[in-house]
Amino acid sequence: MGKLKKKRILSFILCLFTAFFALTSCSHEKESFVRQNIVRRVYDDGWVYTMTYTHDSDGNDIDSVPPIVFNAINFRYRYPADFTADEENPGRIQILGHGISPESDEDIKNIAAFFGYGENITHYPGTDEILAKDRNQLQLKAIDREVFFRMLDEALKSDARKNGKYIDYPSFALLSEPGFKDGYSVQIGHCLGMGNIDVIMIDILYKDDNSPMGYTQLYDLIKNGTATPDQKLLYEYISGLEESIVKNNNFKAKPDNADKELSKRPEIKRIEKFLSDIDQNNISGYFM
């Protein structure tokens, strides 16, 4: 091999090496992705407490995003027990802090002050700052204080949720069929954690002109022992359906060992149609 050819080969190899070195050694900033650790407490009366810890993939706070957030929403009962139905009512969902009770309103304000978030805030305290606060300064009247701080500790220690298939969907909603058809309406309340179905509550609202709300819920008939045998079977099927939906993270999941005869019932068909619409994010036709 002549000297000139050797030189060219060496030059080429040197160029390759330089290019390889340049490409592999050039530093680029890591992308930050939002991560959320989410802890819930679900109560039979429909209240779901949620503690969310938001951070980036390195575990750091994200600018202009509150790191720790608490809320409580009711996914079973749209109205409080003493509510009087009003035609002009815009449709409701019970969220603690919005007039449910003076004690819980005060609790939510105190929690907000503890975490440092509110409507006009421009800078949120960081996680370290929140954790450094004296917990004895937060006193709660309606919300169980021990549960609250246990949820806070769990949220900080738990793993970030992986994105689920419903990441693009409303993170919570309480929906019902508009009006009553065949004497009842279906209601579905649900909340998602980073696109995963965490809680779903399905109920049948039976038209009842004697009730202040204008309906009686299947769940209440079961609870107070006045449900018919037929309604009890329906309730069991719905409970199995709720479990399967959360377990499979799929609004169109079927209950395990589904009773074939029950699955043909018109109430179940309407529930499935409703769930299919939620699955398609097609909820504009439902009462919110």
Partner: protein, 166 residues
């Protein structure tokens, strides 16, 4: 989607006429305006003819659905909600009555939404928006994109609203 066009003919004997029905905001895409024309249009009588841009507005209410997890819960996000009056004539374009800036934040209830709205006058001096006293009102909505959002699909029900006229 069917057009929602409702008239309110009977005018109560007080200064402000609030349309009784509440509406949920429609689904939209961040970073561009979504017009509610043809989908949510509201007819509302005004107390007098030739109403101006100061004679109608919007009341906002608590949402019933949460913004998806795809959105960065930043308090730098804004929403712009325009109130428009339909004329639909080739020589008379629709008027912008007014617009509001909605400010996103995480409220004391832990929900990320628009909590405060600032009305911005469309014109420095009021402009006549209709020749008679029947207003045909609709919204145009734009929600900001915030860096880090992984979706631009705003769900239905981000806010709830009613319209009013003098």
């Amino acid at each position: 989607m069917l057009s929602l066009l409702i008239s309110l003919v009977c005018l109560p004997a007080h200064a402000e006429n609030i349309y009784p029905t509440y509406f949920d905001s429609l689904a939209s895409t961040t970073g561009s305006y979504t017009s509610y024309k043809g989908t949510q249009e509201i007819q509302l009588l005004c107390s007098y003819t030739h109403p101006s841009s100061g004679d109608a507005g919007i009341y906002f209410y608590q949402p019933s659905a949460g913004l998806s997890a795809s959105f960065i819960h930043s308090n730098n996000r804004r929403g712009t909600i325009m109130l428009a009056e339909k004329d639909d004539e080739w020589f008379n374009y629709d008027d912008i009555v007014t617009y509001y800036i909605g400010y996103f934040s995480t409220g004391s209830d832990g929900i990320y939404s628009m909590y405060t709205y600032g009305r911005q006058e469309a014109y420095s001096t009021p402009t006549t928006i209709e020749d008679d006293n029947m207003l045909e009102l609709y919204l145009k909505v734009n929600i900001d994109i915030v860096q880090g959002d992984t979706s631009n699909n705003v769900p239905v029900g981000l806010f709830r609203y009613r319209v009013w006229a003098n």
